[in-house]
Symmetry: C2
Subunit: 456 residues, 2 copies
């Protein structure tokens, strides 16, 4: 495949240009959840449309949605070749706690082999890599496959407008396969492909007591403390075996079969490595399952945030009027994410005392997904990884959620290949997010080979 060799040659020759454009991408604070970054998100969408123009796209367009824009582009001149829909999201998570960052999250900094910035790994790196791979072919003139790009700006807030966008643009988005670049591989020398994702149900629970904050000495001991009640409710959400207590939570969970358990047991992820990666003093989880089983095949409930009363420095003797927790569940096959709200409500109705009032707000959610391991796109990805890394890729279940994979299955009946080039220790969603540059450059080469294999 001389075309591939030329494309790879182009990638190597333009390495610094690629990195510079990546750094430019990272400098745009496209935080989708914060109203004050609204204009930055749009600016990022327009910047991306410009990058897609550069690969000779016949069409690169910024679509408005009720939320942040969707960027769509296509180049469909590979007659007789399959069409690949490339998915990515250009929005990023918030950056707090800001004081734990060693460099400004939006002034990308190269330290050693890594680039540190919010979005470096999740997922501006893999997006720039796939754009670079397409450009590498575009500069040779001939494309190995037809390409469509769908880049959204709301993934980090649960993609509230994406399902509608897909539903309203079925023809536009129609393709033979989806390449979803939002992911990571197991290690810099160990390629992997994720074939299973967990679903998500995310809530905010507010417990209210007195009309307003009161003096804890004058009133404490005579009325319920909403912060204490919230803690009791949260504490009751797990039993002593680490199992979630919401009524019916496990009813439709698909049990792990022996074949999958032994496949998971062969993965090169040890408990020691996991522990040192997190820095936690010990592992913890549902009784009767290994760490990898807990992460990929079992549902979980996590507290994402707590706030109540006085949180500044020093002492303030207040009895808080309210207490709020952010609580989310990761779901596995065959749990229905829309059923969790009712289970959560049933738990609260059974357990909340009448000394407080409470409100449960569903903030976002999405289905999990399991992808076929033998599709043409999956085979092309496996071959590309093998050639680039010189190692056999492993198939992996992942603990995270990528709701768009479920939407693509539901709305367009298309399976996704989930392949991105983050690493597990990239601190995504946390301070000091980073991307390993050598892995990202291998990512560009992998995408080049994937396109070539898919084109036959």
């Amino acid at each position: 495949m001389p075309q591939v060799d030329q494309a790879l040659e182009y990638v190597r020759a333009n390495r610094e240009d690629f990195i510079n454009r990546y750094l430019e991408f990272l400098a745009i604070p496209s935080i989708s959840t914060l109203p004050e970054n609204r204009d930055d998100v749009r600016r990022n969408a327009e910047w991306l449309a410009g990058q897609l123009d550069g690969i000779g796209a016949a069409r690169a367009e910024v679509f408005d949605t009720p939320g942040h824009p969707v960027v769509y582009a296509e180049r469909l001149d590979a007659a007789g070749k399959p069409t690949l829909l490339v998915y990515g999201h250009y929005d990023v998570q918030p950056v707090d706690p800001l004081d734990e960052w060693e460099s400004d999250p939006f002034k990308p900094e190269r330290r050693g082999d890594n680039v540190y910035a919010r979005g470096a790994s999740d997922m501006k790196g893999s997006m720039m890599a796939v754009i670079m791979a397409a450009e590498a072919f575009a500069r040779q003139g001939e494309m190995p496959v037809n390409l469509k790009f769908l880049f959204e700006g709301e993934e980090e807030v649960g993609s509230p407008n994406l399902a509608d966008f897909i539903r309203n643009h079925r023809e536009l988005l129609k393709a033979d396969a989806v390449l979803n670049c939002d992911g990571s591989i197991t290690g810099p020398d160990q390629p992997s492909i994720t074939y299973s994702l967990r679903g998500l149900a995310y809530f905010e629970l507010e417990v209210r007591g007195p009309r307003q904050d009161l003096h804890s000495g004058v009133f404490g001991g005579s009325i319920a403390n909403p912060a204490a009640v919230l803690c009791e409710l949260v504490a009751g959400m797990h039993d002593e075996n680490g199992r979630v207590t919401l009524p019916g939570f496990y009813d439709s969970v698909r049990p792990l079969d022996e074949e999958e358990r032994s496949a998971l047991a062969r993965l090169p992820v040890t408990d020691e490595k996991w522990l040192s990666m997190t820095g936690a003093p010990a592992l913890y989880g549902e009784d009767g399952y290994t760490t990898l089983e807990r992460l990929g095949a079992r549902p979980t409930l996590e507290i994402n945030g707590l706030v109540s009363g006085f949180t500044g420095e020093g002492a303030k003797t207040v009895l808080p009027a309210r207490a709020v927790a952010k609580i989310s569940m990761r779901l596995v096959a065959d749990q229905d994410y829309t059923a969790i709200h009712g289970q959560f409500r049933a738990y609260l109705e059974a357990n909340a005392p009448d000394t407080v009032t409470w409100e449960l707000r569903e903030l976002t959610g999405g289905p999990g997904a399991i992808m076929a391991r033998d599709s043409a796109a999956m085979k092309a990805a496996v071959a590309a990884l093998r050639e680039t890394f010189g190692a056999e890729p492993i198939f992996r279940r992942e603990g995270g959620s990528v709701p768009v994979v479920g939407h693509m299955q539901h709305e367009l009946d298309m399976d996704s290949v989930l392949l991105g080039f983050g690493l597990p220790d990239d601190n995504i969603h946390g301070p000091n997010e980073k991307q390993h540059l050598p892995t990202l450059l291998k990512g560009v080469e992998t995408y080049v080979r994937l396109l070539a294999h898919l084109g036959g």
Copy 2:
């Protein structure tokens, strides 16, 4: 007593001037816990020294401490008369949540009979009232008693430097009695005197898990969530009967005797009134005790604040690295506030799982106090209240803590009369703190009569 009549006449004639100086006092944001208000606190101390000059004090001085200044003044020209040490604090609580205030906490606003501002009730109102009472005599020439004033700027942060100041100025502060103006009465038509205060022990508990915030999908379910562990620890601090579970917590609590229980039962504070004052959906507390018993005679443990992970708007799927709770105990006789730290630590050692680490920091604390009800100063206060309000004052136990009362007992062997003119619904420490002006004006008159009675 023509001298009293003239003093009362002066108070009535200068009512608006008094209110204006009070509003000026309230406009100074003397928040002792916030470093950014440090200069404001000092400015307030100097402003106060100026007010004390105005009553013909031979000496009005601002003393530096390692923290905020102490203001001292004296007027000792009432030969042969007793000496009264007047205590107050000119610092105030923080104002958050600011968005729940209906007017700027430091732009005092008169609405109806009330003045709304931080510090209006706790305790700039009563301080201005006692200064006005002294001034009313000073303008007639002759003082009924000798007066010393001790105004501190750190009460709201637990008076960390006051015990040392008292110890180092024993001679200066020596007096026959202490009038502590930091308090409230039961109702605008029901005068009362507090004779019992609870002690305080205030802590910050931090639970730590992973090195930094992690992605809750990638890592959730494999390591302990510090927010969830904190909630479990907090939930375990009370049993199902509303009793605190710290080992040894009740060992030295003095039981309520029948005489005190029936005295408390006669107080005109109904559960219905208490409920409507707080706005809570129901009352709550330790089994086997009435609301007033829970407030005045039983120790309590309250959660004053909680914070962990993502607390902004929307959804962020983070597994927090740490979770912090502010937790304080109100103590009754004969509990030793210095023993609580060890009890708390023992609870945590027994109950915290080894999947997290924790740190317990003692922020502040102080002893409780029970005051004699038959001292000369107490009798003068009772007579002054009876004459001013036309009603018999009641003796009350109070849930709050005024550590200086304990310090005065320990260091100077002086009992305090605790008499201030807040009301129970003044929202002290909360948003929309207010002071009922007619009650405050009666307070000025009460202080005038108290000084006269004490001088005989």
